[in-house]
């Protein structure tokens, strides 16, 4: 099994979620993140003192998938997340040795 992790623009989450569902993936875990990269942050000014905020709000999406789905899931996310503008983010895939569904204790592919 694999864990596909994507760092995307918050605005694209909706599209990614729908794309994954369309593909047949119905489970995922999402969390807040901040990104640093080519996309620059912004400046804020308080009583004349300027603060540079380097990090940009991002969303992390994690999907556990069967080995054979890994590449296509990454592609599905790619399609949903792409806007073509700087800061679109990254997707990476990591090998997973074991998965358990907590409710039932099922293991492996059945647990997905």
């Amino acid at each position: 099994m694999k864990l596909v992790t994507a760092i995307i623009k918050p605005h694209q989450l909706d599209e990614v979620k729908e794309a994954l569902e369309a593909y047949g993936i119905s489970g995922m875990t999402v969390s807040e993140a901040s990104g640093y990269g080519r996309q620059r942050g912004h400046s804020e000014v308080y009583r004349g003192a300027e603060y540079t905020v380097d990090f940009v709000p991002k969303v992390r999406v994690e999907v556990l998938v069967d080995d054979i789905d890994a590449t296509s899931v990454a592609d599905v996310i790619l399609k949903g997340a792409q806007t073509g503008r700087i800061g679109d983010g990254k997707i990476w895939t990591v090998p997973v040795e074991d998965v358990v569904r907590v409710r039932t204790g099922e293991r492996g592919v059945d647990a997905l």
Binding site: V45, G48, A49, E50, T52, D54
Partner: protein, 488 residues
């Protein structure tokens, strides 16, 4: 609005004198109404998304700055100065900068006047100026709810000055300027006399259902149309980011509104006290009305609904508070609460993005209150109890004459406001632009217009991620762009 007076004035004097009690109440009431605009800032601010709460609050705050300044310069004079003819508008130059009125006393009774015909007594003119400027401020600030999340701050700033001058001051003259109170001839909606436009309407609008709420509501609709919908309107969720702010705001508005309505009696007597009670009565049932609609329609009574119901009730009772009975006030509130709860959905049906429901609450609520007077006006009201005449409404056998006056007042202000605002809005939009660009809107107007963000609660290092080490003072030892020296 009927002649404002306290119940019984017991002193007549040859020289104008100050009634310290009436003045104390008007000064307190003016402060209460001033507090409403920061309250509105919170009420509106809590309803938008995190990324535009500061801009939303700033639209209220800047209105305090601009309209307050303009009021002192020419607004007071334009509203309450000598009428230029027909009850259309006051002369903005006569009392420019409050020239010539600082030592005047309004509403005293000369000793030779017949006892018993006393008017609300002994208010120093600057107290009246104070009470009226805070009305002007909030009337303008209310409009901003229609254009949340997308307005250019400078455009809004310009708008406040132009709109106050061309729309609010004239409308306030029509409705709030009583012949003989400040200037000899007052506005054509409040008074009835030869020489006024159409002979005057003689409509009742005690504290501003027409001049303030219908006016702001119609203006909100016009601006919402000029600016267009927010990106994602009716598609993306745009839920209130902080309902505790909304509740604080509603609490402050409620509190301040007692100054608004009961202060409009311009004295502390029977009329003011009765108005206070009616103002509470309508708010209570309006909250209940809104929540009942929600419970039946959506399954749950919500806190946003309670807050909205309170405001709807306050709006509707504003014109009516002096001329309906306490039971009448309960009815006005119930109708307004339920009516506005139904009305806030109109924008989805008609597809205009009146973001915070200025139309659904202020236009609709203002119309409900103004028109119900035509049905519910009675001598068993605060005004009647104070010994003043009331032209009774349809339900009290008074026929349709008052209802006609109410319709005239309401419709005139509504149409005037919509047309004028549309033109002003368009003019600004076509010149300096009234709306931020799409990227700025997505990122949030707090950043694009104010270079700020509202919250930094993470508690990590100096705050939000990315802040660490990012202050531009880091290298140079002082903020890069910081100002140079100070005056004085």
């Amino acid at each position: 609005m009927v002649l404002r007076m306290s119940a019984i004035t017991f002193v007549a004097a040859d020289v104008p004198f100050t009634d310290s009690g009436n003045t104390a109440w008007v000064l307190a009431a003016a402060a209460l109404v001033l507090f409403m605009t920061p309250g509105l800032a919170l009420f509106y601010g809590g309803m938008v998304r995190t990324k535009s709460v500061l801009n939303m609050m700033m639209m209220s705050f800047i209105t305090m700055g601009t309209v307050g300044t303009v009021w002192i310069l020419w607004g007071y004079s334009e509203t309450f100065g000598p009428d230029v003819g027909g009850g259309i508008v006051g002369n903005p130059f006569t009392h420019f900068g409050l020239k010539g009125i600082l030592d005047q006393i309004y509403g005293y009774v000369p000793a030779d006047a017949a006892a018993g015909t006393a008017a609300a007594g002994g208010i120093p003119a600057p107290a009246f100026v104070a009470f009226q400027v805070v009305f002007a401020i909030i009337a303008v600030a209310l409009v901003s709810g229609a254009i949340a999340d997308r307005a250019k701050f400078t455009a809004w700033t310009v708008f406040t000055v132009v709109w106050a001058t061309l729309v609010y001051f004239p409308a306030a003259h029509w409705v709030f300027a009583f012949s003989g109170y400040a200037a000899e001839t007052g506005g054509w909606i409040a008074n009835k006399a030869d020489g006024l436009l159409f002979g005057g309407a003689g409509a009742y609008d005690f504290a501003g259902g027409t001049a303030i709420h219908i006016n702001a509501g119609a203006a909100g609709l016009a601006l919402a149309i000029v600016l267009g919908k927010r990106i994602g309107f009716a598609k993306e969720p745009m839920r209130p980011h902080n309902l505790t702010l909304v509740m604080i705001g509603a609490g402050i508005l409620w509190f301040g509104w007692f100054g608004f309505n009961a202060g409009s009696a311009l004295g502390a007597g029977t009329q003011a006290a009765g108005v206070w009670v009616n103002t509470l009565a309508a708010t209570c049932t309006a909250m209940l009305g809104w929540l009942i609609v929600e419970k039946v329609r959506d399954g749950h009574p919500t806190s946003l609904g309670a807050a909205s119901g309170v405001v709807a009730g306050l709006v509707a009772i504003t014109p009516a508070c002096a001329t309906v009975s306490p039971i009448g006030a309960l009815i006005v509130g119930l109708v307004a609460g339920a009516g506005c709860a139904l009305a806030v959905g109109l924008k989805f049906r008609f597809g205009f993005d009146d973001s915070l429901d200025v139309v659904g609450v202020h236009l609709v609520g203002g119309l409900i209150g103004t028109l119900l007077i035509g049905l519910l006006a009675t001598k068993g009201s605060p005004t009647g109890a104070a010994g003043l005449d009331v032209n009774e409404g349809v339900f009290y056998g008074g026929g349709f004459s008052q209802l006609g006056a109410q319709v005239t007042g309401a419709l005139t202000v509504m149409v005037f406001s919509f047309v004028m605002t549309y033109l002003i809005g368009l003019a600004i939009h076509k010149t300096i632009g009234f709306r931020v660009d799409d990227t700025q809107e997505s990122q949030g107007v707090d950043l694009s217009e104010h270079a700020e963000s509202a919250y930094d609660l993470s508690g990590l290092t100096g705050g939000r991620f990315g802040s660490p080490g990012a202050v531009s003072t880091a290298s140079s030892g002082k903020p890069a762009k910081t100002h140079e020296g100070a005056s004085a």
